[in-house]
């Protein structure tokens, strides 16, 4: 049984008599401790799938199962699944200290030893404990993304949904955050479902990847197929060829 099962999922937004079918009939499975990537252009529906898993998008058809069980909203879910968003400038509350941001999930779930856990969470993501009483605007983008990762891990979930976690960061900071995510995955046995438009990032982090276009699944690729350019569809190939990573090699 797979840890995450998405079966024939469709998401339809309705506004002012218009229908936007953001996700159409998409299926995939993610095994426990596997990392799965969703890649595609903006508007391809990849982020919408993550939002649907969190119950933040109107699912019009299909099923989402975690550990074989249909989704249950509420506290149990928050302990299973957490999300890290793209823009660390927007995803942290600007008027809450880091301490408040990190201790809020503990308070909601009635978990004791908040002090110790907050300090540990900070050191686990490579931040000094002295950052505890700072505000987000006093941190750099990379430091903020580390706080966002720490917040996602406060309830010790099994699954992390990562929505373009490094695309707002400089290359060197991206490297640090990707290394941190890989180390945490190893340490805690996490399962990642990761969205990115950067094939090189997906390839670095994920075992399998689903290429999406216009809300539909185009092709699923194992990592070896991607590296050796064994894709069946023209669209997946064009994404592969347009990847900046390839450009450099063509140039060298």
């Amino acid at each position: 049984m797979s840890l995450i099962e998405i079966e024939k999922l469709s998401v339809t937004f309705q506004a002012q008599g218009r229908e936007v079918r953001a996700v159409q009939d998409v299926s995939f499975k993610v095994e426990a401790r596997e990392s799965y990537g969703l890649v595609g252009e903006s508007g391809s529906g990849k982020s919408t799938i993550l939002r649907a898993i969190c119950g933040m998008a109107p699912v019009s058809a299909g099923a989402i199962r975690l550990d074989g069980q249909p989704l249950n909203a509420g506290r149990g879910f928050a302990r299973q699944v957490q999300m890290v968003f793209q823009d660390p400038y927007a995803s942290l509350h600007p008027r809450h200290t880091i301490d408040r941001t990190l201790s809020e999930p503990l308070a909601i779930h009635g978990i004791a030893e908040s002090d110790r856990r907050v300090v540990k969470a900070l050191t686990d993501v490579g931040l000094p404990a002295s950052f505890r009483f700072r505000y987000p605007h006093q941190l750099s983008g990379g430091q903020r993304q580390r706080v966002a990762i720490a917040r996602a891990l406060m309830l010790e979930p099994k699954i992390l949904l990562l929505d373009e976690p490094t695309s707002a960061l400089d290359a060197s900071v991206q490297a640090e955050v990707l290394n941190l995510l890989a180390a945490l995955r190893e340490e805690r046995g996490l399962t990642f479902l990761m969205v990115s438009h950067d094939l090189a990032v997906i390839d670095h982090m994920c075992d399998r990847v689903l290429v999406m276009q216009h809300g539909r699944a185009v092709e699923e690729l194992a990592r070896a197929d991607l590296a050796n350019a064994r894709m069946k569809t023209d669209y997946a190939r064009s994404l592969f060829e347009a990847s900046a990573d390839r450009l450099l090699e063509a140039n060298a």
Partner: protein
């Protein structure tokens, strides 16, 4: 041949409560009718360098330079009136994000024709024809629809093309493009770059391409300046980028993941070497 743009020892200083902060510290370069890339991380001063050429730095920022000359004209001595005659008409600038750089309450057609009508005194009909031609030049398929659209009705790629079209209408000699493609998807990115490329070739325009993406710049430009903390640490021909000598440039290249790479931890950027202390001194 005299270069189109010549900059020597450019400095941009911001006076803050805690004393002056130098965002650009002694940058020199010259540019012919070619594509020059400026690469660096956030805070390296690459955007400030670009804006300085148009003297678009607001107080408390100050610009100082030994030489800043565009096509024989001294930009440091030019009055505000002369600068206004240059901006747009002879030196264009494409900003990073169409969401923030287009006027949200004006449709695209009005924005495109505003300059033509005010600056060039064209009639409504002529201005419209020219705007439509400019949209076609950046490969927008249905220019009529785009002319009537408001910026929020356009995708990121469309918005970016509209901004490029707008900057190209006055046929500038120099275009400064500040991260023109970083908000775009890879496939759209390739299209926008080929549009810019065609314009450099066909019109003999000079281009300053500012980006944080080393790989992109190396493919697209003739020459690359690598900036760190307000200084140029390395200048090299784009095709030699893989043979970069400077540890910072090498570090920037190595920290990027590769398709088919070994998935080990990515090397971080070591900022403790002699070069880093030298750069800050």
């Amino acid at each position: 041949m005299t270069p189109l743009l010549d900059v020597k020892n450019l400095r941009v200083t911001f006076d803050t409560e805690t004393g002056p902060v130098e965002a650009v510290r002694g940058v020199s370069f010259s540019l012919g009718r070619e594509r020059l890339g400026i690469v660096g991380e956030s805070g390296s001063g690459k955007t400030m360098t670009g804006r300085s050429v148009l003297r678009l730095i607001r107080p408390p920022g100050r610009i100082a330079a030994d030489v800043m000359r565009f096509d024989g004209q001294d930009l440091m001595k030019a009055g505000e009136r002369e600068m206004r005659a240059l901006r747009g008409k002879r030196i264009g600038m494409v900003m990073q994000d169409p969401k923030y750089s287009l006027n949200p309450v004006m449709n695209v057609g009005d924005q495109l024709t505003e300059g033509l009508r005010r600056r060039d005194g064209l009639g409504r009909k002529d201005a419209r024809a020219k705007a439509l031609a400019a949209l076609e030049a950046v490969q927008i398929r249905d220019p009529e629809r785009v002319m009537a659209a408001y910026p929020h009705e356009l995708s990121g790629g469309m918005g970016q093309r509209v901004m490029i079209a707008m900057m190209l209408i006055p046929e500038p000699d120099l275009l400064i493009a500040d991260e023109p493609t970083s908000a775009l998807d890879v496939t759209v990115q390739a299209e926008v770059l080929s549009i810019l490329d065609g314009l450099v070739k066909d019109r003999g325009m000079g281009l300053i391409f500012i980006s944080h993406d080393l790989r992109l710049v190396s493919r697209f430009c003739d020459r690359v300046l690598v900036m760190y903390k307000g200084k140029v640490v390395e200048e090299l021909a784009a095709r030699d980028l893989m043979q970069a000598r400077h540890p910072y440039t090498q570090g920037l290249l190595n920290c990027l993941p590769r398709i088919g790479g070994d998935r080990g931890p990515l090397p971080g950027l070591d900022r403790t070497g002699d070069w880093a202390t030298e750069a800050v001194a």
